[in-house]
């Protein structure tokens, strides 16, 4: 098992490098833009903050009068201490507070949709690849490909319009109803699920095609291998071969693809949240852009990036677990 640990640590190291790259990018972008970043940011704060608070904010961004390297260290120190500055749009809330409450909702909605979409898509892909001559294979891929061609958020708009506005089957926005108190009670949970249903459904349908297609393609390659022919020759039942011989092998590269697509899928999820006024990271992003709230924007960039990196690492662990070739 030593080698597996070694591998996981190496991957972790890579994610740290990526995280560091994100932090550094975050630091340099304002400085590379035309104009004085300090002036731009602080113009917004004028009249709202006491001078000491402004200085504290300067520390966060490293916009002090030290040389560049010094600024960089101050900046890193603040970030690693969890100080992401103060939001402009939600003044005077610290950025960390705003983001943490929103983070949970995003993880709930996006996480749920992702897992459901991936599972169903993979299953469909397996079945379709197996019954190559079936009607499913000629209709489903093009249909799902067409649906997947729509921008996530646009489909969300259509779904909201039809099911929320016209039919009133689902609420028009937010994470839970006004008449429910948050907490571990049944009415809250039900309300949360009811509100999450439409956005989740939208995201699932749009991304379904992608997972299905990739599993289907990998399955087709797998079905052409020698060990599948051998399995047929052995007289094993179709179902056994499809699952134990084909799918078991095909799912591994699919997991890798899952990790790589995470960042992309998450972006779509964020935009969907906006349509539904869902109080997650996406909604915050919109507010930040509208108000030109740079501290919030940069805070969001950081947390979203770290979340994706963490998720990727979890996928690495899953792959390790499923692939016996990783064991010696």
């Amino acid at each position: 098992m030593n080698q597996s640990l070694h591998y996981l640590l190496r991957r972790l190291g890579f994610y740290f490098i990526a995280a560091w790259a994100a932090l550094t990018l975050n630091f340099f972008i304002p400085r590379l833009m035309p104009g004085d970043p300090a002036a731009i940011i602080f113009a917004r704060f004028r009249g709202k903050l006491k001078p000491e608070a402004i200085n504290a904010l300067r520390e966060t961004f490293g916009l002090t009068d030290e040389p560049l390297l010094g600024q960089y260290w101050s900046y890193l120190k603040s970030i690693l201490q969890g100080d992401l500055g103060i939001s402009i749009a939600y003044f005077p809330e610290p950025v960390t507070n705003i983001i943490s409450s929103a983070l949970l909702w995003t993880i709930f909605l996006a996480g749920l949709s992702l897992i459901i979409s991936f599972s169903i898509g993979t299953l469909l892909g397996t079945i379709i690849a197996w019954n190559r001559s079936g009607r499913l294979d000629s209709t489903l891929p093009p249909v799902l490909a067409f649906i997947g061609a729509f921008p996530y958020f646009w489909l969300a708009m259509v779904a909201l319009y039809i099911f929320g506005f016209e039919l009133s089957w689902f609420p028009l926005g937010h994470a839970y109803g006004n008449n429910v108190t948050p907490g571990f009670n049944l009415s809250f949970i039900l309300s949360a699920l009811h509100h999450a249903a439409l956005p989740a459904l939208t995201m699932i349908i749009v991304s379904l095609g992608g997972w299905m297609l990739s599993m289907r393609n990998i399955m087709i390659t797998t079905l052409g291998t020698d060990y599948i022919s051998f399995a047929h020759a052995k007289g094993l039942s179709s179902r056994l071969i499809m699952i134990r011989y084909a799918a078991r092998n095909a799912i591994l590269p699919n997991f890798t693809g899952f990790g790589m697509a995470l960042g992309f899928v998450l972006s779509g999820a964020l935009l969907t949240e906006i349509i539904f006024s869902y109080p997650g990271q996406g909604y915050l992003l919109l507010q930040a852009v509208r108000a030109q709230d740079f501290p919030l924007m940069q805070g969001l960039f950081m947390t979203i990036t770290f979340a994706v990196l963490a998720a990727n690492w979890l996928v690495d662990i899953a792959i390790l677990f499923f692939d016996p070739r990783t064991r010696k």
């Binding site: 020759a233 052995k234 007289g235 039942s237 070739r325």
Partner: protein, 558 residues
């Protein structure tokens, strides 16, 4: 007639293509008697594997069985329902497939893959299933401790044995072996074959054996059928075939197989009258070593592929570098042609003060002097360019010929290697030519710069047996006509014997023996050399003394 356990009648198999369907198997008929070893021989593309896969109906798309009957136990498998097809698979016939090294599911253990079959086809309870699995493993000399291993943890020979164990699981009356040992070392190959034959004596099943190696088959088959281009051209007892057979093609096949032992046939390949080698070697290799770092994420390690190799090559001679897969011979080729850099050691070209292995940039002059012919005729030419391009580029790069004279020179080169008319061949793309033709183009390319030394890395192993001698003959002729020195790399001791003046035997990255070709063959000194010669000679089966201690031999390193 009635003791025939498998009967193939007028079998036709087509492959559907965008154009006309390709008739892979065209009206093939034969019968196999109970208890015999029946051999099916043919070159690649002859249809032999297609026939046996059709028997089990496991041919993948775009194959279609277009006609005929396959009769087992009085039933025509080609006319039964799909459920009945499942009934007879593995119970009546099992198969050890070509490239069986890939026949095992990478994510299941050995135990699971054997038990799969037992659970599907028999009603044994779990204890009985496990006992039977262990029994099967011991039949083919694999220690039961490997039961819970995964395929990637087994060596090639062990994987092969596991596949054979699976084939034996239900004790079917007929077992098909489709090139079961092609990818293995000669010695391991012979051991496994001996084991199979021993088992057959014990258990009494019938064997249908497919191979391209006629020599091998004549050792132990009772009857042999020869296929060419989808048709059966000859079918007779093994002894009759060995003495020449009736069909032209059979005779051609027999004749193109030189033997590694016995008296040397005269006049097989042209040789110079006097081989005056001179004092100075044209190439000298000293203490050459190459290690690769396996960047496997999970267990990074260092593999020593070439270990401290030293030898000299004199101008005008042909050296045969003989070794099996994994012996390091291709790596030595890449080191001498400077495609890769050595970990240690030196290479001297034309004189002991011209060390070539250190400088990072390879001087253009070196490229002119040392050329290479590769093993795979399909991979060594670029499919998007014509023959003209392949031959013109080196000449233009080295500025040897002016643009006007280029075409004439190329045509002349093509005709030298036997591609006539040169004008037609110059325009062709690789996909328009056969393997043999492509290899000739590769040789012309190597010769075009007028090199002093040519490395030929297994130039004939991917070609049809019937044209191998022709290609070797080009090398032999060019040595004389163009004053070449040739390093001929091969695993086939017999062709080394006929082409080379001296032979170097390579095992696991080291030279175990070297000497004049005939001397080495007649009186080998080292054990490994003796084994190699024996494996390439008739009568190896009888002479191979195996005992039940073969269990220890498979160490199981990957």
């Amino acid at each position: 007639m009635n003791s025939s356990v498998l009967s193939i009648q007028n079998l036709c198999v087509n492959y559907i293509t965008p154009g006309d369907p390709v008739k892979a198997v065209n009206d093939v008929s034969f019968e196999i008697q109970q208890g015999e070893i029946f051999g099916l021989v043919g070159e690649s593309g002859s249809g032999k594997s297609t026939v046996v896969q059709a028997i089990l109906r496991i041919l993948p798309p775009p194959a279609v069985i277009a006609g005929g009957k396959v009769i087992i136990k009085n039933k025509d498998i080609l006319s039964t329902s799909n459920t009945e097809v499942m009934q007879y698979r593995w119970k009546q016939i099992s198969i050890v497939m070509q490239s069986a090294l890939n026949a095992l599911n990478p994510v299941l253990t050995v135990r699971e893959q054997i038990e799969d079959v037992l659970k599907e086809h028999s009603d044994l309870k779990s204890k009985a299933t496990e006992d039977r699995t262990k029994e099967l493993l011991s039949l083919i000399d694999i220690d039961v401790s490997w039961l819970d291993s995964y395929p990637h943890q087994l060596s090639g020979g062990m994987k092969q044995r596991v596949v054979i164990a699976i084939a034996l699981a239900l004790m079917p009356p007929v077992i098909i072996l489709d090139e079961p040992t092609t990818a293995l070392d000669v010695i391991v190959e012979r051991e496994i074959l001996a084991k199979i034959i021993e088992l057959r004596k014990e258990l009494g099943f019938t064997i249908l054996f497919i191979t391209h190696d006629l020599n091998l088959l004549l050792e132990f088959a009772d009857r042999v059928a020869i296929m060419k281009n989808g048709r059966l051209v000859e079918l007779d007892k093994a002894q009759k075939i060995r003495s020449g057979g009736k069909h032209d093609y059979t005779q051609k096949l027999i004749r193109s197989l030189p033997s590694a032992s016995g008296p040397r046939e005269k006049g097989l390949l042209p040789r110079p009258e006097n081989l005056d080698l001179g004092e100075q070697p044209i190439l000298e290799v000293q203490n050459l070593s190459k290690s690769f770092h396996d960047s496997g994420i999970f267990n990074p390690r260092s593999i020593d592929v070439v270990k401290n190799v030293s030898f000299q090559v004199f101008p005008g001679e042909i050296i045969g570098l003989v070794g099996e897969s994994g012996s390091g011979k291709s790596t030595i080729a890449k080191l001498i042609t400077r495609l890769i850099r050595p970990t240690a050691g030196d290479i001297f070209l034309k004189g002991s003060n011209k060390k070539v292995s250190e400088a990072r940039r390879v001087p253009l002059e070196y490229r002119k002097q040392v050329q290479m012919v590769f093993q795979d005729p399909f991979g060594s030419l670029n499919s998007v360019h014509t023959v003209y391009h392949h031959l013109a580029r080196p000449l233009l790069r080295h500025q040897l010929i002016s643009e006007q004279d280029l075409l004439d020179h190329i045509i002349e080169m093509l005709e030298t290697v036997g591609l006539r008319p040169g004008t037609t061949f110059a325009e062709k793309f690789p996909h328009e030519m056969s393997g043999g033709e492509r290899q000739r183009v590769a040789i012309a390319r190597a010769l075009s710069l007028g090199p002093d030394l040519i490395i030929a890395d297994e130039p004939t192993s991917m070609l049809d047996v019937s044209i191998r001698m022709e290609i070797l003959e080009i090398f032999a002729r060019m040595r004389i006509e163009k004053n070449l020195t040739i390093i001929f790399i091969t695993h086939d001791l017999a062709s080394a014997r006929y082409l080379a003046d001296r032979i170097l035997v390579l095992q696991h990255g080291s030279i175990v023996e070297q000497g004049k070709a005939e001397d080495l063959i007649r009186s080998p000194k080292e054990q490994y050399t003796k084994q190699l010669i024996k494996a390439a000679s008739p009568g190896w089966l009888r002479s191979l003394s195996f005992n039940n201690n073969t269990k220890d031999k498979d160490v199981g390193h990957v």
